[in-house]
């Protein structure tokens, strides 16, 4: 009891601290640094575009099969850098810049690239005293190294695709010994290192220390900076580019803004209480990937650095009317990071899909979630106890609303000791889990990375005895305040620690857990309530590296270790499902991401679209926002609209703050219950399509939720659209996100394209803005003419219950009268699709009045009980007969109905197995 009470007291206390740190409603910006307040950013920003002091020493050129190296010298301080250039398979160029002889090694981000990228031969095309021209392979692609001032240009024929250091903003703060504490040894080393560090008169130019180089204080927190200044910066110019995207996570527009007059976009994983919309402040996760797009080309820049990073974006056309500007459009991007090295991948496209493939080849693709994870999730901080869980579960059945997962937040654990259960609220977790399993449903319990410092807590004791905690600058275990009170933070950068963590999810280790229990990692930025900017001190130590070096990676490692644990507990059989709040490049490999602690406001509903689109562009497809909004109390209208929008976003979970009134779907009157039920049912019916898209995302890296321009790259009108999007390439969704809306205007892209309202089958031409009157039940969704989408229209209480149900094919014909689509089926939860090739992958096509199903994966096999119950051909004409031809040559006539007003043909009950070859011929 004592500990329990203690936990409560501490919790309240901590809550109080959090509250004291914030103003009443919105984010307290003063808790978070501006560029001006971040010493390295300020120093770097003082450097203005101009002549670069860097010079390439072409005589140091070394050429091997896989790379070219040469030295750069800063003519101001004579410090030498080593430039490495790689031509990578799949039309990418990698540029690495490090100190030639750093005082000590600089951090290079591990574990993000899935492997050493495959290189291709770089050959020298020509060389003169000031330049070097390298071939990047076909299509006249060249990489030009200019010596003085140093710059890199990637060109294709006469066209410059991207230039590096063209504005002279390459800046590399070399590691140096602290003047007042130089030991003799260090001095000798330094002497060697700076042998060339003399100016023309042969005198050593000592750079002066600037404020914040060796120590920096923000609010009450001092960063000791024992290694001194170490920041890096590089600029990229993108001629012809007006639109750049990506670098999540920011609560901002899809198209990145010009940051000339504001702070740069910041990438530094932070727990931001009640975040504000439309600003460049850092949020919970960071993916340093920027995508540029123009009608000519789509490219990407992947800046592989896990330290605090700022991205400045400057466009010469920003805010200008195009006609007035005579100069060609250009966007300049500058990256600034606090430590590490410059390691940048330039993904040369040229098409959006190429960039996705290129990025996926570096950092991997979206993990393929078990089907159930794509269904609806019911969450709340907190479902109070077992009884509560049971009654909510029953509530869904009573109101005939499907759901797959119920979630437990921090209150479920015994005094916020994760991996345990509160003995009075959840005395029989297995009984509870079994109850859910009997309904073919599942549960997620939270496991956060902060560990309660408590000698009675097994997890803490083990971490302590294995010396797995992150250390403070003085070498003791780092401690900070989080939900449980005083907490330690396991060093997830340590692979041994991660292996140990993973082992804790074994059923015998995690008492009370069962196979239908999955995990959620929150607070993994990491959140430290009493730390600088609510996170860990930068001088904390992860083995030999400072937290400064690894900060943005921490959350990725937490999710990775947890996902590994779920795989291991099933003996490598089951696909894991882990949700994370913090993330980095590569996090897509480990599960789902949500947009953190949003609020029950219309603006937050709207921003969920560009936030998830940006994540998708940066490889993370499995994204969602808390349906209803985490903070505050949504109106019934907002809640309904959010369900309608969320039903068409990849990760579909309702969540609520502990201080908000209950908001299970049936608590807002029968009308709203019916509206929410319908939205969730639409999600369940479309699960086959979502599943197939995730399979493809897993194979290719294409985002599931896509901005329109990804599929219509030549249509300039789509480039800034963020209130609608595509699911795959076949469904266009324009959710209603305005209070009291009576209509929305949706842009239907594609010249010659046709779109069909999925609810009414009404046909609309592409390349037009369509005014759509809406009521509370409207969810404007359109199917692209030319597509076939498979649905399961028998919606049941959970996705597992629908496993063997039949499919209905919706073939929406294009103006040529044809359509095609895919159907993917497997066991929906194991790795057998990968390990044993157990799946069904069909290609469905309709043309010349013939619809057929063809095997896309002849070497795979899987038997399904599912069959084809109905085929709906939208935009078709009335046949006189419909004949089904089976693989064995047998034929049978199909009955059909034709709705002549909407031109919808419905074929009754083909009855063929979904895995079979078959053809339907209309005459």
């Amino acid at each position: 009891y004592y500990f329990y009470l203690c936990g409560v007291v501490i919790f309240r206390w901590v809550l109080l601290i959090v509250l004291l740190c914030v103003s009443a409603r919105a984010v307290d910006r003063s808790n978070f640094k501006t560029c001006e307040q971040s010493a390295f950013c300020k120093r770097q920003k003082e450097l203005k575009p101009g002549q670069s002091p860097y010079r390439a020493l072409l005589d140091t050129l070394e050429l091997s099969d896989s790379r070219i190296t040469l030295q750069l010298i800063n003519d101001n301080n004579k410090v030498r850098l080593l430039l490495e250039l790689y031509r990578l398979q799949g039309n990418m160029t990698r540029v690495k810049i490090n100190e030639l002889k750093p005082l000590k090694p600089r951090y290079e981000v591990p574990d993000v690239l899935i492997s050493d990228p495959f290189t291709e031969t770089l050959s020298v095309v020509s060389q003169d005293e000031n330049s070097l021209v390298l071939s990047l392979g076909g299509k006249d692609q060249r990489l030009i190294v200019s010596a003085q001032p140093f710059r890199l240009d990637i060109v294709e024929g006469p066209q410059v695709l991207v230039s590096l250091n063209s504005r002279g903003l390459l800046a590399f703060e070399h590691l140096r010994a602290r003047k007042d504490t130089k030991s003799e040894l260090e001095q000798v080393t330094e002497q060697e290192n700076v042998e060339q560090r003399t100016d023309e008169d042969g005198q050593i130019k000592e750079e002066e220390d600037k404020p914040g180089m060796w120590e920096e204080t923000f609010k009450s927190h001092t960063d000791s900076k024992p290694n001194g200044p170490s920041s890096i910066s590089l600029d990229f110019s993108l001629p012809g580019v007006e639109h750049v995207y990506g670098i999540p996570e920011h609560a901002d527009t899809l198209k990145l803004k010009n940051t000339d007059g504001s702070d740069p976009y910041r990438l530094y994983n932070l727990d931001v209480f009640q975040y504000e919309l439309h600003n460049p402040m850092a949020l919970y996760g960071a993916v340093p990937v920027l995508i540029s797009h123009s009608t000519d080309r789509t490219m990407g820049i992947f800046w592989l650095n896990a330290a605090e990073t700022w991205v400045d974006i400057s466009s010469n056309t920003a805010g200008k009317v195009r006609v007035i500007s005579s100069e060609a459009p250009q966007t300049d991007v500058r990256w600034i990071s606090e430590s590490g090295i410059i390691d940048v991948f330039i993904m040369l496209g040229p098409k959006p899909a190429d960039v996705f493939t290129q990025y996926a080849s570096l950092t991997g693709t979206q993990s393929f979630p078990p089907l159930t994870a794509l269904a609806y999730h019911q969450c709340r901080w907190n479902y109070n106890d077992q009884e509560d869980v049971k009654s909510v579960d029953q509530g869904f059945d009573e109101h005939d609303i499907p759901y797959d997962f119920i979630w437990l937040d921090i209150e479920h654990a015994d005094g916020k000791r994760y991996f345990t259960w509160d003995p009075s609220k959840f005395p029989q977790p297995k009984e509870m889990l079994q109850g859910l399993m009997d309904k073919r449903r599942k549960l997620v319990a939270i496991v956060d990375p902060h560990i309660r410092v408590d000698s009675g807590y097994k997890i803490h004791n083990e971490i302590l005895s294995k010396n797995f905690y992150v250390k403070n600058k003085d070498g003791g275990d780092y401690e900070g305040w989080c939900w449980p009170g005083n907490s330690g933070y396991p060093d997830f950068t340590n692979p041994e620690m991660r292996a140990w963590w993973a082992s804790k999810f074994a059923y015998e280790q995690y008492e009370g857990s069962m196979e239908n229990q999955y995990v959620w990692n929150d607070m993994n930025e990491p959140s430290v309530f009493n730390g600088p900017e609510v996170t860990m001190h930068k001088d904390a130590l992860h083995g030999g590296w400072e937290h400064r070096d690894v900060h943005n990676l921490y959350g990725l490692y937490v999710q990775k270790a947890t996902a590994d644990g779920l795989v291991e507990r099933s003996g490598g059989v089951e696909r894991p499902f882990v949700l994370t709040r913090a993330f980095f490049a590569g996090s897509q490999r480990y599960g789902a991401v949500w947009t953190g602690d949003n609020a029950a406001e219309w603006g937050h509903l709207k921003i969920s679209i560009p936030m998830c689109l940006s994540l998708g562009l940066a490889g993370i497809s499995f994204c969602g926002a808390d349906v209803g909004g985490f903070f505050k109390h949504p109106s019934a209208e907002l809640l309904v609209r959010w369900y309608q929008a969320g039903a068409y976003q990849p990760f579909f979970r309702a969540h609520a703050h502990i201080d908000t009134p209950r908001r299970e779907p049936w608590l807002f009157g029968p009308e709203n219950t019916a509206l929410i039920r319908e939205a969730i049912r639409q999600r369940y019916a479309l699960l086959p399509y979502w599943y197939q898209l995730f399979y493809n995302a897993h194979r290719t890296g294409y985002p599931v939720m896509r901005p329109l321009w990804v599929e219509y790259p030549d249509d300039v009108a789509t480039f800034s659209i963020e209130d609608e999007y595509l699911i795959g390439k076949d469904l266009l969704v324009h959710p209603v996100t305005d209070e009291g809306a009576t209509a929305v205007t949706a842009y239907l892209p594609g010249k010659g394209e046709v779109w069909y309202d999925v609810h009414t089958f009404q046909k609309h031409d592409g390349e037009q803005s369509l005014y759509i009157p809406v009521t509370m039940s409207s969810i404007p969704v359109f199917q692209r003419g030319g597509s076939i989408i498979c649905r399961k229209d028998r919606v049941r209480r959970s996705s597992s219950c629908m496993e063997n149900d039949p499919y209905t094919l919706y073939a929406a014909l294009n103006s040529q009268g044809s359509a095609e689509g895919e159907l993917y089926i497997d066991d929906f939860h194991t790795f057998n699709f990968e390990k044993a090739k157990q799946f069904v992958h069909r290609h469905l096509s309709f043309s010349a009045n013939t619809l057929s199903s063809r095997n896309l994966a002849p070497d795979s096999q899987f038997s399904t009980a599912s069959w084809i119950e109905k085929i709906v051909i939208i935009g078709g004409s009335q046949p006189s007969s419909a004949t089904l031809k089976n693989a064995d040559g047998t034929e049978s006539a199909l009955e059909f109905e034709f709705d002549s007003t909407l031109a919808v043909l419905t074929l009754r009950k083909p009855g063929v197995n979904a895995a079979a070859d078959w053809t339907v011929i209309l005459r």
């Binding site: 009075s424 201080d659 009134p661 209950r662 009980a865 109905k870 009950k909």
Partner: protein, 469 residues
């Protein structure tokens, strides 16, 4: 797979014990059997279309209302009827047919899913009968208790009403009595008052003399202020009580020869702060003297006691009568307040008034005082939290007396004020059975009382009455 049994032969054990076979499509209740006639076209129950009979339960939805697929999951809006012999028949959404989850206790919903369901109808029926039996007993006894409660409440109410009437009559008399005694008291107090005033005057004179002496001796050195000088000090005047004029001072003291000194003395307390640093300790002595009580000399005391005794009696009589009046007012008010509560259609909830009921959980002690307030106190020390004060009955329209709402409790951080809903169920005992906090700061309390027990419908408790056949 797609071929589903069209018809199902159902065997029933009727209460008579004779097995009867009734053929009907799967999932159709007996009440609808006439719409499903074998070998005749089936008309969707909404009349929208007719289909060949072999399309009933063929696992394809033909009717918009789902009526052609009562036994399969083909229609999104269909429903399936399970007979559940031995228990209660029910409809389930057709999406629960063959979903791998046993919904019907007779297992008929899972005929093709591989789910291993056991027929639990008999067991459920037995349990339900037991529960119903128990409930019936409770209801019966509870209802009897309720009758007592009603009787008592009515009696009590009647008593209270007549008591109020009586009291109102008595009150009138008391009012008059109080007025009479007030006059008596005031008359009796006159000599006492005069004696007091006389003595006070004498004392004031004496005091003035002492003061004068002291002042002359000590204060003169500290500071001397003539009346005219004093009056010229505007700042002192402003600070002083504006009415403190020479005339007033004279009137108070009654001696013309002492006017100057007494004026000074009256001003002194007001100016002493200003002169504080100069005055030092003497000022303290002086204020002590001024504030001390009027001393009573022996002679005065004797005289005064006599006068006072006669006045005191009158005073006591008056006060006693006044007090009695006040008390009566309170009593009337309280009874009227109690009578104003809605204690139910038959006043059956009256007995809960001014009672409190506690429930101790692992953390807290909850206390429900019906029609008053609900509170929560930590078991191991800590202050009490108000979970709401009596608001209103808030049950459903047909019986609002099933829920009580207590509102405006202690406020929650960033949230509403705490409130509690009390759910009343029939029981022999009056007891709080559970509490919970389904939503932050919104509590739910379950409370049993005979007062909500309904009259048992009839004595036959057989659940078979509602069963098919």
């Amino acid at each position: 797979m797609t071929c589903v049994h069209l018809l199902l032969t159902l065997v029933f054990a009727v209460s008579l014990g004779t097995p009867v076979e009734i053929q009907r499509p799967r999932g159709v209740p007996l009440t609808s059997i006439q719409f499903y006639v074998e070998n005749k076209p089936f008309t969707c129950l909404d009349g929208s279309r007719a289909i060949p009979f072999d399309r009933v339960n063929d696992d394809y939805c033909d009717c918009k209302d789902g009526s052609d697929e009562p036994g399969t999951a083909a229609c999104p809006n269909g429903s399936f009827h399970c007979t559940n012999a031995g228990y209660r028949p029910m409809f389930i959404p057709s999406s629960r047919i063959n979903d791998g989850i046993c919904d019907c206790c007779d297992t008929t919903d899972e005929y093709n899913s591989g789910a291993k369901c056991e027929n639990t109808c008999k067991e459920l029926g037995r349990k339900e009968r037991e529960v119903l039996q128990k409930m019936a007993e409770i209801t019966k006894e509870g209802f009897l208790l309720k009758q007592h409660l009603i009787e008592e409440a009515k009696k009590g109410q009647q008593e209270k009403k007549s008591k109020v009437t009586d009291m109102q009559g008595n009150k009138k008399q008391l009012d008059e009595k109080v007025e009479v005694l007030r006059t008596v008291k005031e008359t009796a107090e006159q000599p006492e008052k005069e004696a007091k005033e006389r003595h006070l005057k004498a004392w004031e004179e004496q005091k003035a003399a002492i003061r004068l002496e002291k002042d002359k001796a000590k204060m003169a050195e500290a500071f001397f202020v003539s009346v005219s000088e004093l009056q010229s000090h505007a700042e002192l005047d402003a600070d002083a009580d504006g009415t403190l004029t020479e005339t007033e001072a004279q009137g108070l003291m009654g001696g013309a020869e002492q006017v100057d000194t007494s004026t000074f003395e009256s001003v002194w307390p007001n100016i002493k702060d200003k002169y504080h640093s100069e005055v030092s300790r003497e000022e303290a002595d002086m204020s002590c003297l001024v504030s001390s009580e009027v001393p009573f000399g022996k002679m005065f005391f004797f005289f005064f006691t006599v006068v006072k005794l006669s006045a005191q009696k009158a005073r006591d009589d008056f006060e006693e009568a006044e007090k009695a009046l006040r008390e009566m007012d309170d009593q009337i008010r309280n009874i009227e307040k109690e009578l104003s509560f809605d204690f139910g259609p038959d006043a059956e909830f009256t007995y809960l008034y001014s009672q409190c009921y506690e429930l101790t959980t692992s953390e807290y002690i909850y206390r429900l005082c019906p029609f008053n307030r609900i509170s929560q106190k930590p078991k191991y020390g800590g202050s009490e939290t108000n979970l709401g004060t009596w608001g209103s009955w808030s049950g459903p329209e047909n019986n609002k007396y099933l829920l009580m709402k207590y509102e405006h409790g202690t406020g929650c951080w960033q949230g509403p004020n705490r409130s509690t809903t009390v759910k009343l169920t029939c029981g022999k005992e009056t007891v709080v059975t559970s509490t919970s906090e389904p939503s932050r700061c919104e509590y739910l309390m379950e409370f049993t009382t005979p007062a909500v027990c309904q009259e048992p419908a009839n004595t036959d408790l057989s659940p078979h009455d509602h069963e098919e056949l």
